[in-house]
Symmetry: C2
Amino acid sequence: MRTAEREGRGRVPAHPEVGDVSLQQVLEALVDPVRRGIVRELYASDEDRACGTFDLTVSKSTATHHFNVLREAGLIRQRYVGTSRMNTLRRNEIEAVFPGLLDALLARGEA
Amino acid sequence: MRTAEREGRGRVPAHPEVGDVSLQQVLEALVDPVRRGIVRELYASDEDRACGTFDLTVSKSTATHHFNVLREAGLIRQRYVGTSRMNTLRRNEIEAVFPGLLDALLARGEA
DNA sequence: ATCGAAGTTCGATGGTGATCATACTTCGAT
DNA sequence: ATCGAAGTATGATCACCATCGAACTTCGAT
């Protein structure tokens, strides 16, 4: 198999199993308001979203950093489509491992 | 009224309304594993607990700092009894403002 | 009135993480 | 084959925060 490891540009980035991620890591990911904003947008839209389509207040390189942190915490799944990197919330997996967490964090309209 | 402001040593420390605390502040309080351990013990015991009775891995001065952070985030209530400072979880108030949050964070046996 | 127990206060320190600019890569479109 | 758009990599900077020790305060008990 050759194509399985590639999709778009470069290697497919590492996506841990949500069950292998510690609560500590998840909280460290979600304590940042920019990242919580990303998760909130994904939670609301329920569609693939390219990194560039988010309403972010930080530079592109910082945005890349935040998306990486979210992916490594098992919160989002990323894949390439052309030059765009599409993002989805791993909602069901998160709910299975951390039941109620996303709802509790996103319930209020807060950033 | 004179005694209302005093109870045990010094002034009664400031306890914000939970509704006035931002989710950001609550998360910043709960992202620290030592503080989450304190909350977990309070959640399990459901009784007043003196600071010194907790199973903490840090020095006394650091412990004081952590309890202060939790109080200022609206998560615990503190009062003096003799030289001891007793702590309770503000469970109902937290549940009213951030429903499901404590359960989601403390569900797993994780620190 | 003394002593110890329980916390507090006060700097100092060290590590971590968010941020940015710059340079670079990769892809699609022309 | 070139160009621009979308992101990535890298290195630097900066602020914040957890941590500690040492000195201090306050209270109850003797």
